[in-house]
């Protein structure tokens, strides 16, 4: 009996081979609290993509992935706690999912040699890789968003916004104030009048702002909100009968849950996007086969195809491809967070690669470099159909105004480098 057990144990050990550590991609999620409606689908998309890689491909480069989830409740202090609690597990990259958390983690993660990917949020000037060695905000940042909105409106007005009035209804926080400087510069350049209308958090009560919009009659309203502020804004716009086709939100103000409470009256509302929408992509066939049908979907498994789910999926794909790149660069499957940073800096997303992944057209083509951690900043526009209850892309990914954005990035990042005595990275 003893001999039999020993043989069995040895056999099992030989079959298992050398144990490989997982590739760890922590998810700082928020499934509870006032912003859970946006946090749940993103977290589900992020987790499901790595589940798909494990189930279909056996992980990345033969190494399984693991996504430890830590609930931040969209609270900055909890986010930092989550970072501290999970970094010891061999974390390769962090998606802080909050501008406040990102700001707190930038110095910590840089010191710990762990990269941050703040996709479409966070510190905009982190695009400058020469200063922010461990922060990446590809494929687009807030200032691309502001410029993307103005570019779209230029297109709608035959390239001339002179004399037009654009109101910015924004969350009165660091996040909401991000586009102001860019919009002010663009207002000077294109001759439109910019009206600033801050809304205090959480933003349920916006009567004053919309009464002012009704009085001032701006030609367009740009929304920079999050959470309940978005639903309240869309509802108030509908109440004062502001034309929805002239109302355009940033990508964090353009999910299904932002428009459904207003019902049919939200029809025609527009929002920026830097990712594909819906589930009409081949990758969804694999997700269904390997993740949903096998009962391995994250959460309730009911978020597939939603705007924020796709964003989580896209963030996970970019992280996985960066890990694959890092494996190739360093010739090892078990990469460290420092090597992951190198992979992110050498990331090359081509249309051929996207097609291979079953995500053709899901995001723009781009190449990251040491100097440019922000990607090309291409921005699309989507429109909500209340009848079909779907978002549809009405303007494909278009370039934004680098002539305005790049000097602002340089100015802000140089100031940060000076304050923190940072040596050039590149």
């Amino acid at each position: 009996m003893k001999t039999k057990l020993t043989t069995l144990a040895l056999g099992a050990m030989m079959a298992a081979g050398p144990a490989m550590a997982d590739l760890v991609f922590p998810s700082l999620s928020y499934r509870t609290g006032p912003f859970a409606a946006g946090g749940i689908p993103f977290a589900d998309g992020y987790a499901d993509y790595f589940t798909l890689l494990n189930e279909r491909d056996g992980g990345i480069g033969g190494v399984k992935t693991r996504v430890p989830e830590c609930e931040t409740g969209y609270n900055t202090e909890k986010g930092v706690e989550c970072y501290e609690a999970t970094k010891g597990e061999g974390a390769l990259v962090y998606q802080p999912l909050s501008t406040g958390i990102t700001y707190q983690l930038i110095p910590k993660a840089t010191a710990d040699d762990i990269p941050i990917h703040s996709m479409g949020y966070g510190r905009t000037s982190a695009k400058n890789g020469d200063v922010f060695s461990h922060v990446f905000n590809y494929p687009a940042n807030y200032w691309n968003g502001a410029s993307g909105a103005v570019n779209y409106l230029l297109g709608e007005n035959g390239g001339d916004l002179n004399g037009k009035k654009i109101a910015l209804v924004y969350h009165n926080s660091a996040y909401g104030k991000e586009p102001i400087r860019t919009l002010e510069e663009l207002a000077k350049k294109h001759g439109f009048e910019l009206v600033l209308l801050p809304v205090d958090s959480p933003g349920q009560e916006q009567k004053s702002q919309w009464l002012q919009i009704r009085r001032d009659k701006p030609d367009y309203v740009v929304l920079w909100g999050w959470g309940v502020m978005n639903q309240a804004a869309v509802q108030e716009a509908a109440n004062i009968r502001f034309p929805m086709e002239n109302f355009i939100g940033v990508w964090w103000s353009g999910a299904e849950h932002d428009v459904t409470p207003a019902g049919d009256k939200a029809d025609g509302y527009k929002a920026l996007t830097f990712t594909g929408l819906g589930s009409d992509y081949p990758i969804y066939d694999d997700l269904k086969k390997y993740v949903v049908d096998t009962g391995k979907a994250a959460g309730a498994g009911d978020q597939l195809g939603s705007v924020q789910y796709n964003r989580g999926l896209y963030a996970a794909m970019l992280a996985a491809e960066a890990a694959r790149t890092a494996q190739e660069i360093h010739g090892t499957a078990e990469i460290t967070s420092g090597q992951m940073r190198d992979g992110m800096e050498a990331l090359d997303i081509t249309e051929a690669k996207m097609a291979d992944l079953g995500m053709s057209g899901f995001g723009p083509e781009f190449k990251v470099s040491c100097e440019n951690h922000g990607g090309p900043g291409l921005v699309g526009v989507a429109q909500w159909s209340a009848t079909d209850k779907t978002w549809s892309v009405i303007s494909d990914f278009q370039p934004t105004d680098d002539d305005v954005i790049n000097p602002l990035v340089d100015e802000d990042s140089s100031a940060y480098a000076g304050e923190n005595k940072i040596d050039p990275n590149c």
Binding site: T32, A36, I40, Q204, R241, P261
Partner: protein, 328 residues
């Protein structure tokens, strides 16, 4: 009439309407504080819980479905029926009564004669517990609430004011409904406390619970009743705010809007909650209109508290609160 004056009139009207919505939340606080001396921190969460329960019942959602599915590996989420709004409101009210009984039975009953701060802390715990239960029971996605209340600009007011002032005022139909409902609610609450046996018993308990106990009034019953009435007020507030911007977690934060109203109106007066709400509503909207543009806007949240503090300097008990004089 100058353009600015006409705009200010529109702002005042909208401020009054917003004040009514704040007062709806404040009423729940007043009811419980008046009857039991407890500052119920969970009142905002009760509004959230009530609204989520209402939507869940209306949509035929299976409560705790995520939990059930996780344990048993099932995939049930819906019963497959829709419940009419009126019946759903009645069923939700029954749930709120059950909640009131549970709060009394499992929390408050064990804390009789404790310091007010202990009772306050208990309601903080209750708030977090209820938040979690509401999430677990109905999920945390944003839900649309449509109980048939009208929304959007009131065209009659728009046209009438256009003819008189040359500028059509914007008044939201939902705000008008909220005003009517709040007025009816206050009349009903006053009538209940003045003319019914239970109402008088409630007032007796509020005045002196030991004396009330000595004449045979059941404290348990009265407190369950008070929490039930506060639950009903929370349901009304939840319906109004939930209709505006969907039923979601942020509903619980409307309590923050009620605090300056309570400070101003007094914690023990039902008319005080209404008047306080109106003053705060008009004050914050007018300040935002007149001063907001000069200081960068977004003044409403902090100005409401400043206004309440100014009142407190002159009337520490609030406008309608009871002046407490204690011997040393």
């Amino acid at each position: 009439m100058s353009e600015q004056l006409v705009y200010a009139m529109e702002v005042i009207l909208n401020g009054l309407m917003a004040g009514v919505l704040y007062a709806l939340v404040a009423l729940g606080f007043v009811l419980i504080f008046k009857a039991s001396g407890i500052f119920n921190y969970a009142q905002g969460v009760m509004a959230l819980f009530a609204a989520m329960t209402l939507v869940g019942i209306m949509n035929g959602q299976v409560p705790f479905s995520h939990l059930i599915n996780a344990i048993f590996g099932s995939h049930i989420t819906q019963f497959g029926w829709q419940v009419p709004a009126v019946i759903a409101i009645l069923l939700t009210m029954a749930v709120m009564v059950l909640l009131a009984w549970c709060v009394q039975q499992f929390v408050m009953r064990h804390l009789v004669n404790q310091e007010p701060i202990i009772l306050f802390m208990a309601t903080i715990g209750l708030a977090y517990f209820l938040e979690g239960v509401a999430d677990l029971m109905w999920g945390s996605e944003i839900k649309s609430l449509d109980v048939g209340l009208p929304q959007g600009i009131n065209l009659w007011i728009d046209e009438t004011t256009l003819n008189i002032f040359g500028y059509g005022f914007f008044i939201d139909n939902l705000d008008i409904v909220a005003t009517i409902v709040a007025a009816l609610l206050v009349i009903a609450l006053v009538a209940f406390s003045q003319y019914t046996k239970q109402g008088r018993a409630m007032r007796a308990v509020a005045d002196d619970h030991q004396a009330a106990l000595s004449v045979g009034i059941s404290l348990n019953f009265i407190w369950v009743m008070v929490w039930s009435v506060a639950g009903f007020v929370a349901l009304v507030a939840g319906i109004m705010w939930g209709t505006k911007s969907g039923v979601q977690f942020s509903l619980s934060l409307i309590a923050l809007k009620a605090l300056p109203v309570l400070m101003l109106g007094g914690f023990t007066s039902i008319p005080g909650a209404i008047v306080g709400g109106l003053i705060i509503g008009v004050g914050e909207k007018l300040f935002e209109f007149a001063i907001g543009p000069l200081v960068g806007g977004a003044t409403e949240n902090w100005f409401a508290y400043v206004l309440a503090l100014i009142f407190l300097v002159f009337r520490p008990q609030g406008l309608f609160g009871e002046k407490i004089i204690e011997r040393v």
